[in-house]
Every structure is written in structure tokens, then in C-alpha cells.
């Protein structure tokens, strides 16, 4: 239990005043903990990454690995409007374009939301208000940050709907969300998030609730719009296929921490963490020889209240016994550089990992 109280204390400490970073978005040692009756849920426990404008970061991991909590943390949505519940404990630093968000005035962060950074949610049906027309909702989003009359804002809404590929936008603007199909609804959601030309766009599982046939269209749209607007994009997903198509960099999360991070082609073709191998093995692929079965990652995601000591992945890792002295179960591995801009947190030596990857894993994929 010492472990628990130690990190609990760390969360309360004031954030250090390190110099502002040069990257457009930089997250440093982000921790998001939720106190509950059963204990402290460490949804995100020390996450750091950087993102430049015009680049796409894919955050990958299974349910409960802290992907969405991270994105809501950046948006400041853990602290906005939490009524009576025990407040989330957030520490670390989130630098967006030279502003540190966690120590900033909440009202300043609110003004950045929707204008500097905006978000696309997983299920566009539940994320849009059922009682307001698509147009009303986009107009509202625009007028929060622009001092224009309703007519101008509505023209802008129609223009955005047209841009995201909604046919007859001048008519559809007066429709309600339930009159749209799933894909159209997500397009409308994207139009709403982009109406203020945000520089950071966070897409939280943007295709999960959609038909497979529509998924590719939405991903194409996000990519096209990113090129057009030059914004930084974080795409959160459990689907490696999605990030393969879009991301420049990939960050693999497990148990609230980053286990591997690097350029997309590195993480895909030279992954250096057993969990990433597991993810790749469980992904159906059509571009390779048909092999017998998908290989699931055995076991279930770790409890975020009692995260396994040592490496959080050790109970599910087939190679946990290779390092000596039971080190995988006692010492938490830190991220170490395994290649240019490529980091992984694993006790296996780089040579061991390279051998296992090339001899055991890669041939089976």
C-alpha cells in the first residue's frame, strides 16, 4: 500500500515550473486519478508526449487503458461541471501553444475549448443534443467564439456542412440529429468541431460507432481536413488499422501508461514491446497470407486501482520470466530509447526483443 500513498502524495504536489516547451502540444507526466469508494483509480499515471502542428498522433490501447481519460484531460473536461462527485485529481503539465492548461484559469481554458482545441466523440448520436437542429448546434459552437449574428453563423454552418460532404447542406442544416444517418451525423459532428478552425483536434474513437463502409470515408475526411487546416490531430482508437492509415506517430497505452511510442512505421514494422506484439497479433489483416487464427492477448486489462507491481503487463506477458531476478514483477520499466525517436518500456534487452520479434512474432503475422 506504500505504493498507493506515495503516488497519491505526488498527485497533490504543485506542478513544477519547467520552461515552456517548443512543441505545439506537450504533455508532461500527466496523471489523472479518480478517488472512489474502492480506492484510487489511476486512469492515467505518468504520460508524456509531444505533438507538432500538421502531425497526427495515434493513441492506441484496449478499453480502460486511459486513452479517453487523457483526451478529456487535455480538453479540461474532467474538472468542468463535476457536481458533487469526488473531483478527479490531475497533475503534470499540458502545454498547448505556450499555455500551461492545468494551472491556467478554468475560464481561460473554457475559452480555448472549441476554438483552439476541439473534440470529435465516439457516438455522434448521443454526442449531439437531440432537441436542437444540427444547424443550431453548429451556430452555437461558432458564436461562442465569434461575435457574429445568427445569419452569418448559419452561413458558416452551411459552408462547413458542405465542406464535410453533406449533400444539400442548406436544407440539412435545419434537420435534427435523428434525421441524419450515422455517417452523416459524424460528418456533422466533425463540421461542428472544425467550425472555429481549431489547431488541435482530438478524435476519440471517431469511427467505432459507424458502419465499416463509412469508417474509411470518415478517416479520409479527417485526413483531408487536417491537410487543409494544418491542425494537430490526436486520434484515439483501439483499432490499429485506423492509426495505420492516419498517424505519423503512435503511442501505445497500457494500464494508464505509455508502453511504446514512436513513428508509425517503426511501431508497426519494428515494435519493441510485447503488448504491441499482442495488439498486432490480434488485428485481422488482409494484406498478409491468411493464417490460422487471430492471436488474442491473453488475460484481461489490469485493475486501475491495484495496478500490478513491476511491469503492469507482466501477468499477461508470455516473456515475463526471461529477465532475471523476477525483475518484471518488482521494478516498473521506464521508457528507453530503442531506435531513433522510438521508445519502449520493457525489461527485455533490446537484443532479446529483436530476436523474439524477428524469429517468433513477425513470421506469424
Amino acid at each position: 500500500m506504500t505504493e498507493l500513498s506515495k503516488s497519491g502524495a505526488a498527485v497533490g504536489e504543485p506542478t513544477s515550473t519547467s520552461p515552456a516547451p517548443t512543441s505545439f502540444l506537450e504533455v508532461r507526466d500527466l496523471k489523472v486519478h479518480f478517488p472512489t469508494d474502492d480506492g484510487l483509480v489511476k486512469s492515467v499515471d505518468g504520460l508524456s508526449f509531444k505533438l507538432e502542428k500538421g502531425k497526427t498522433l495515434g493513441i492506441v490501447g484496449e478499453s480502460g487503458s486511459g486513452k479517453s481519460v487523457t483526451s478529456l484531460g487535455i480538453m479540461g473536461l474532467h474538472t468542468a461541471g463535476q457536481y458533487g462527485k469526488r473531483k478527479a485529481q490531475i497533475s503534470g503539465e499540458i502545454w498547448l501553444d505556450g499555455t500551461e492548461l492545468l494551472s491556467a484559469d478554468p475560464d481561460e481554458v473554457r475559452k480555448l475549448r472549441g476554438r483552439e482545441m476541439s473534440m470529435i466523440f465516439q457516438d455522434p448520436l448521443s454526442a449531439l443534443h437531440p432537441y436542437y437542429t444540427i444547424g443550431q448546434q453548429i451556430v452555437e459552437a461558432y458564436r461562442i467564439h465569434h461575435d457574429v449574428d445568427k445569419k452569418t453563423a448559419k452561413r458558416r454552418a452551411v459552408e462547413m456542412l458542405d465542406r464535410v460532404g453533406i449533400p444539400q447542406p442548406d436544407k440539412r442544416v435545419d434537420n435534427y440529429p435523428h434525421e441524419f444517418s450515422g455517417g452523416m451525423r459524424q460528418r456533422a459532428m466533425i463540421a461542428m468541431s472544425l467550425v472555429n478552425n481549431p489547431e488541435l483536434l482530438i478524435a476519440d474513437e471517431p469511427t467505432t460507432a459507424l458502419d465499416v463502409t463509412v469508417q474509411a470515408q470518415i478517416l479520409d475526411l479527417i485526413r483531408d481536413l487536417q491537410k487543409e487546416f494544418g491542425s494537430a490531430v490526436i486520434i484515439i482508437t483501439h483499432d490499429l488499422g485506423v492509426v495505420a492509415e492516419l498517424a505519423d506517430d503512435i503511442l501505445v497505452m497500457y494500464g494508464g501508461r505509455c508502453v511504446e511510442r514512436g513513428p508509425a512505421e517503426k511501431v508497426f514494422y519494428e515494435p519493441r514491446h510485447p503488448y504491441t506484439w499482442g495488439l498486432l497479433g490480434s488485428m485481422p489483416r488482409l494484406d498478409r497470407e491468411q493464417q490460422e487464427r487471430l492471436i488474442p492477448v491473453k488475460g484481461s486489462p489490469p485493475s486501475l486501482i491495484n495496478i500490478p507491481s513491476g511491469c503492469a503487463f507482466n501477468p499477461r506477458c508470455p516473456y515475463a520470466d526471461i529477465p532475471k531476478d523476477n525483475v518484471t514483477r518488482t521494478v516498473r520499466p521506464e521508457l528507453t530509447e530503442v531506435g531513433s525517436q522510438h521508445w519502449a518500456a520493457c525489461h527485455l534487452t533490446p537484443e532479446q526483443r529483436e530476436r523474439i520479434w524477428t524469429e517468433e512474432i513477425a513470421p506469424k503475422l
Binding site: 480538453m75 473536461l77 468542468a80 461541471g81 457536481y83 458533487g84 462527485k85 473554457r110 475559452k111 480555448l112 475549448r113 472549441g114 476554438r115 476541439s118 473534440m119 466523440f121 457516438d123 448521443s126 454526442a127 449531439l128 443534443h129 437531440p130 432537441y131 437542429t133 452555437e140 459552437a141 461562442i144 467564439h145 458542405d162 460532404g165 453533406i166 449533400p167 444539400q168 436544407k171 440539412r172 435545419d174 434537420n175 435534427y176 435523428h178 434525421e179 461542428m192 470515408q217 479520409d220 475526411l221 483531408d224
Partner: protein, 350 residues
């Protein structure tokens, strides 16, 4: 990626036309319902006693009356006619008026005719119209109070969940739901009227004196509103808490909306739906007579009339109040349905 053109235009269910079409559907349904209600009421009041072997005519003239006058009454009320003729006369009476006749004894009863009181031989309709404003004033006044205080308390409790305010308000609300009107009513009378003497508990019609009317109504309003405010506070709190967890509330915050706007615009609009449903049913039922409140405070409303009528088995009065109550519930629900369609666009398709 090109723009896909859909062949048909977008379905239109947003405009005022859709609301109008919806309104017409609801009106039609309400009219059908009204006919059904009249039929059911007729059955309950005229057929069921007959099957049970109770003679309505003798309950009109009294048990000791001689058979000749019972027969005369039976003929005049048309009780020996075939059932379909009776139903027809009953309907006709309500919509265009009817004529009771037995030999040379002819009484014309103008529409809407609910018959004559068995006890006072008064036309039932004026009795209803005399008493209706009292009940309507009671119900509407109390509704305003309970809506304002109940909904406000519920919203505040939800926003301050777990706080002292929340717990306090919910304990009071539990009290409000559990304590019967005749307890809270008598208590308030004992304190404010007999004890402190602030309020003279007598009912004064609005047409005579506005302040007198207010003085007479304030305690009944507060008593009745206390009960309902408690229920509304609980419902509002629960609904609000549920709505605050919705994804679209998170979206509203993600847009950068101020929290006050998120609550007052996005969350309140959704919270209104169940409140409105309850309001329709409660108001409808209350307009048919708040029996306990009217009795406790001696208000000459429909509830008091129906209670007296039940005591004296004054069938036509009970019948009239029953029909008025049904009509009130029907109209209240119609209004709610229309408001529903205004609030929730998805309802317009129904």
C-alpha cells in the same frame, strides 16, 4: 471524396407544418377518447347499478316513496327505455340538450345536460360551473408554486449533490411526499389562521375581492404545492443528474460553453420533458377536484361537491364531476402532448 447526392430531399419533420399535423392527430385522438369516456361513464352510472339490482329511480325519490311516483320518475328519466335509446339521450343531452317528459310533466334541460341533482333538484351544469373556478384557481395557483419551488430545489440539489443543501432539501421533500394533506393543511390552519391570526381562512371569490381571494387561497395553495413540490423536486433532481451524465452535455462543454449555459439551456431543456408529463397528469387530476384540500380548507370547489354528492348518493353530480375531471385530464394531456412536440422534435413523428 465526392459529395453524395441523395435522390429524395431530406425528410422534413422539423417545421411548424409537422407540429400542426401532429396537433391534428392528437385532437382527433382526443375526440375519440371523449366519446369513449362518455360511454364508459354512462355504463358505470346507469348500467352497473341496473345489473347490481339497484333502482336508480327509487334512489331518486327515496326508499319510502310510493310505487306510483317511483314509476313516474323512472319514466321521466327514461330509465325504462332500451339501453341504446338511453345512451342516445345521454349523448344528446350533453351536446344539444334533452327534454325529460312523463305525461304532462315536461322539463327541458339545456346543453350540456348532466341531469338534475337527486337531492336539490338543481340543474347539475350550473353547480359545476359555480364550483369549477374555485378548483381551477386552487390547482393553477398551486401548480405555479410547486413548479417554481420544486423544480428549482431539484436542480439545485442535483448541482450540489451530496451537499448539506441536497440532503436537507431531499429530507424535506421526503416529508412533503409522506405527510398527508389533512395533516399539513390542518397544521398550517392551526398555526397561521387560529394561532397567529395572520390569515382569515375564509374563501372569497375572486370577483368580489382580489386580496380576499389571495388571503383565502394562500394556505390551500401552499399546502397543496408542498406535496407536489416535493415530488417534483425529487423527479427533477433524478432527471437532472441523469441528463448531466449525457454525452451531449459533455459536447456542450467541449464547445467552450459557459457552465451556466450548459445547465440552463442544454440540460434544462431535456429535464423539462418528464416534468411536463407529470404536470399534465397532475393538473388534470387536480382540476377534477382536490378533495382533501378543498375539504380541509372548506373551499367550495368540485372536490367538495363530489364528496357531498357521494355522501348523499347524488348520482348526477358525481357523474358531472367525473365527466369534467375526464375532460380536464384529456385537455391537460393534449396541451402536454403539444408542448412535448415543441420541445422534442422526435415526438413529432409519433
Amino acid at each position: 471524396m465526392g459529395h453524395r447526392k441523395t435522390s429524395g430531399g431530406p425528410r422534413s419533420c422539423g417545421g411548424p407544418l409537422a407540429v400542426l399535423a401532429y396537433l391534428i392527430r392528437r385532437l382527433f385522438a382526443a375526440a375519440v377518447m371523449l366519446v369513449v369516456i362518455i360511454l364508459v361513464v354512462f355504463c358505470i352510472f346507469f348500467l352497473v347499478p341496473k345489473w347490481a339490482g339497484v333502482d336508480i329511480a327509487s334512489s331518486f325519490v327515496g326508499k319510502q316513496a310510493d310505487p306510483a311516483s317511483v314509476a313516474a320518475v323512472r319514466e321521466k328519466l327514461g330509465l325504462s327505455d332500451p339501453i341504446f335509446v338511453q345512451v342516445w339521450h345521454f349523448f344528446k343531452g350533453i351536446f344539444v340538450g334533452r327534454t325529460y317528459s312523463a305525461g304532462g310533466d315536461i322539463t327541458h334541460c339545456a346543453a350540456p345536460c348532466f341531469g338534475y341533482s337527486f337531492r336539490t333538484e338543481q340543474d347539475v351544469w350550473p353547480v359545476l360551473t359555480d364550483r369549477f373556478p374555485v378548483t381551477l384557481g386552487l390547482a393553477l395557483g398551486a401548480a405555479v408554486l410547486w413548479l417554481v419551488f420544486g423544480v428549482a430545489a431539484g436542480v439545485l440539489s442535483a448541482l450540489k449533490r451530496g451537499s448539506l443543501w441536497d440532503r436537507g432539501a431531499m429530507v424535506i421533500a421526503l416529508g412533503g411526499v409522506s405527510l398527508p394533506i389533512y395533516f399539513t393543511g390542518l397544521l398550517s390552519l392551526a398555526i397561521f389562521s387560529y394561532g397567529l391570526g395572520w390569515i382569515d381562512g375564509k374563501y372569497v371569490p375572486l370577483t368580489e375581492s382580489f386580496t380576499g381571494w389571495l388571503g383565502g387561497m394562500i394556505l390551500p395553495w401552499v399546502t397543496l404545492a408542498f406535496l407536489y413540490a416535493a415530488m417534483y423536486a425529487r423527479i427533477t433532481r433524478a432527471t437532472m443528474l441523469e441528463i448531466l451524465g449525457e454525452d451531449y452535455i459533455r459536447t456542450a462543454r467541449a464547445k467552450g460553453l459557459k457552465e451556466q449555459v450548459v445547465i440552463s439551456k442544454h440540460a434544462m431543456r431535456s429535464t423539462m420533458t418528464p416534468i411536463l408529463t407529470m404536470l399534465g397528469m397532475d393538473l388534470g387530476a387536480l382540476i377534477g377536484g382536490a378533495i382533501l384540500t378543498e375539504t380541509t380548507f372548506s373551499l367550495p370547489g368540485l372536490g367538495q361537491a363530489v364528496l357531498n354528492a357521494i355522501k348523499t348518493q347524488d348520482l348526477p353530480i358525481i357523474l358531472g364531476v367525473t365527466l369534467i375531471t375526464s375532460l380536464a385530464v384529456l385537455i391537460a394531456n393534449l396541451v402536454v402532448d403539444v408542448l412535448y412536440a415543441v420541445i422534442d422534435p422526435r415526438v413529432r413523428l409519433a
